[in-house]
């Protein structure tokens, strides 16, 4: 992401900035659903521009944060007890499980490799036939198609040492679950690049307002300004503020690919609980590539750390500073809760970018 704002841009951006700074009126709660939005909003210092009447809530859109403890436990078990090579996005390496993280497991001899993409994981599996490999398939609608591309490749390559440990999630159930916590959503731009606008339109029908937002400073400022202005009109609205990337129909190719290999399932969200039809799992026909079935993993009940309020933070019910562990027992170096471990988590962003005294 480039940080420079050109001169022409400054006019529109200046006006957007004035709108969000000068707002006075009924309290306006805006939830940024996406973790990358959370991260960029902090990195750009955008919170400091908001009028006192606007509250930003960091929602449940960081896959690392909403992935339950038991998922990490499953990955650690695959690595240490089943001898699998774990291939994962860097984001998951330091997330604490009930007893240990993948990083700790690596110190105990587990093979944990960080990859840039699921296709790289498949590539690793193909070139290391002597290893049993498992890719940690997490992420939302944006990321899931990449897992399916890798699976498709594995099938066409005819390799049998590659499987997925799925915790893929979909947003609509979360949009509905969080409605009461906010007046408008800042919808995740890159999820919408895949899904198109239909999910947001359904929310609009339920009376929920929102805008689809991009990730640069001008994009975030203009999206917030649109929310402020439209809210004044007093009726639900939906505006695509990221049209350079997001179209009405999204990517039908991506959705078709996912539908070929996966189907909706109920899914456990850390901090929110089990939500119907909020995840994607491999279809029965692809059981051979499902790590849970392939290695007959037992059902694991993860243990959340005592005192951790990540769940409430994710729901906007409290801010990180209100958690007794925040900044004391729970820091980015020694995270207790998931919102501290990912730099996209609300706790980590607060800790790293905001004044704490």
């Amino acid at each position: 992401m480039t940080d420079s704002v050109s001169m022409e841009k400054k006019n529109a951006v200046e006006r957007a900035r004035e709108i969000i700074s000068d707002y006075h009126g009924p309290k306006l709660r805006i939830m940024e659903v996406c973790g990358t939005h959370t991260h960029e909003i902090f990195r750009q210092g955008i919170r400091s521009l908001l009028s006192e009447d606007i509250t930003l809530i960091s929602g449940p859109g960081c896959p690392v944060c909403v992935t339950p403890v038991s998922y990490i436990d499953e990955a650690v078990m695959l690595a240490l007890e089943k001898g699998c090579t774990i291939l994962t996005f860097g984001d998951l390496v330091r997330v604490p499980g009930s007893e240990k993280s993948l990083q700790t497991a690596r110190g105990e001899g587990a093979s944990v490799k960080v990859v840039y993409s699921p296709q790289d994981a498949e590539d690793y599996a193909r070139t290391h036939p002597e290893e049993e490999t498992v890719f940690l398939s997490v992420g939302f609608e944006t990321t899931t198609p990449s897992s399916c591309i890798a699976l498709k490749q594995a099938i066409s390559d005819g390799i049998s040492n590659f499987s997925l440990l799925c915790a893929n999630k979909t947003m609509p159930a979360a949009y509905r679950a969080m409605m009461a916590a906010t007046d408008a959503y800042l919808y995740p731009g890159h999820v919408c690049a895949i899904t198109g606008l239909s999910d947001c339109r359904q929310m609009l029908e339920l009376g929920m307002s929102g805008v689809v937002a991009g990730f640069t400073a001008p994009e975030l400022l203009t999206a917030l300004a649109v929310i402020v202005q439209k809210s004044k009109e007093g009726k639900p609205f939906l505006v695509n503020c990221y049209p350079r990337v997001v179209t009405e129909e999204g990517s039908p190719q991506a959705r078709a690919l996912v539908a070929e290999y996966m189907e909706p399932c109920d899914s456990m969200w850390r901090g929110i609980g089990l939500m119907a039809d909020s995840g994607m799992d491999l279809k029965e026909a692809y059981a051979a590539y499902d790590a849970r079935k392939k290695y007959a993993l037992p059902r694991i009940e993860g243990r959340e750390a005592k005192g951790c309020r990540c769940g409430e933070v994710l729901q906007g019910a409290c801010i990180p500073q209100e958690c007794p562990l925040f900044g004391k027992r729970c820091t980015p170096e020694h995270p207790v809760g998931a919102c501290m471990v990912s730099s996209e988590g609300a706790c980590s962003a607060f800790y790293l970018y905001q004044r704490r005294d």
């Binding site: 420079s4 990195r43 210092g45 984001d91 840039y116 993409s117 170096e333 730099s343």
Partner: protein, 337 residues
């Protein structure tokens, strides 16, 4: 080079005929100077004034990278550590731990670039040691260098000398070494033309100190990068630092790579880029000197020291807001999902 074997063997470390041969054909051939003798220690002339001394171990994978190799790095690291204290590097020693089976031609290449780099920095290598470890006990070659330098009379830079109002400079664009190594390891399938900034900077530091003796802080931004060094300085000097994010020089290709992986170049290692903190009124003079010299053409003013926000590094963003630069912490992991 006229060695009979093509690889280093345990016999080269056993202290006998082959050890002498290795020292003569490889090390002495390159490090030749009157102080480098067969005696047990180098005997050096006395020097007036304060001396600075430092030591550093080098393990880098891969050993050869765009813009340098472990040998060049081992000289730059120690020369730059001395330079940061305002000390003219005079003498160095180097200790090698070499893995059995290490290719002799690679060793020759490493030693040869050590010679060239030492020459550029004007430092003499006066003693050395070679050990050969069994296959698998070390990864190729590890080098430890120790250096002694004479501190210029009026110079007194230290991490604890930053004062509110001072200007914060970097002597070049940041994060290139770390980015280069990341690319050379080829773990993420990314290609980019990024060369390590690895360079000995004594001549540059000397040029600055001769005209501006009152430089308050000089630090090389090696492991942990510029971000880590700035946090260290705020602690040691009991000050805050405010940076202008847009003024921080980053090569476009480095920016491309870090954006792809969700990393921040502020935490990537530099091996030929220093942080300098100077009195505000000397800023332009120091920049002019640096920009006129090899290795430091991209020197830039990136911010200033503040009384407020002690112990913190504040970023002024492109849209005029202020946020903290996150405290450096963990292993750098790509952020994707």
């Amino acid at each position: 080079m006229d060695l009979k074997t093509k690889t280093v063997t345990l016999a080269h470390g056993a202290g006998g005929k082959q050890t002498s041969e290795l020292i003569r054909e490889v090390f002495k051939a390159h490090f030749s100077n009157p102080y480098f003798t067969a005696d047990d220690a180098a005997v050096l002339p006395g020097t007036d004034g304060r001396i600075a001394m430092t030591t550093d171990g080098f393990i880098v994978s891969p050993r050869f990278f765009r813009g340098g190799n472990i040998g060049k790095l081992s000289i730059c690291g120690t020369v730059n550590d001395l330079a940061c204290m305002g000390a003219q590097p005079l003498y160095m020693t180097c200790a090698f731990v070499i893995e059995e089976g290490f290719p002799m031609d690679q060793l020759e290449q490493i030693v040869s670039s050590m010679e060239a780099t030492a020459k550029e920095a004007g430092v003499k290598i006066v003693a050395g040691d070679t050990k050969v470890a069994g296959k698998g006990q070390v990864d190729g070659v590890f080098i430890t260098t120790t250096g002694v330098g004479r501190i210029l009379d009026h110079a007194d830079p230290s991490g604890s000398h930053a004062k509110p109002g001072d200007s914060v400079l970097v002597t070049g664009d940041i994060g290139r070494h770390g980015c280069c190594i990341l690319l050379e390891r080829d773990e993420y399938g990314i290609e980019a033309q990024v060369e390590s900034d690895c360079a000995p900077l004594w001549n540059n530091v000397k040029a600055v100190l001769e005209q501006v003796p009152d430089v308050h802080v000089i630090r090389d931004a090696t492991r942990g990068g510029v971000g880590t060094v700035l946090y260290e300085i705020t602690e040691e000097s009991g000050v805050g630092i405010e940076l202008d994010r847009e003024a921080i020089p980053v090569a476009p290709s480095v920016r491309g790579v870090t954006d792809m992986l969700g990393l921040d170049p502020m935490y990537l290692a530099c091996e030929g880029t220093l942080v300098m903190i100077v009195p505000e009124e000397e800023t332009q003079k120091v920049l002019e000197i640096l920009r006129g010299m090899e290795h430091t053409q991209n020197a830039a003013l990136i911010g200033h020291v503040t009384e407020a926000e002690k112990g913190r590094v504040v970023m002024r963003t492109a849209i005029g807001t202020r946020t903290y630069l996150p405290q450096p912490g963990n292993e750098l992991l790509p952020r994707i999902c």
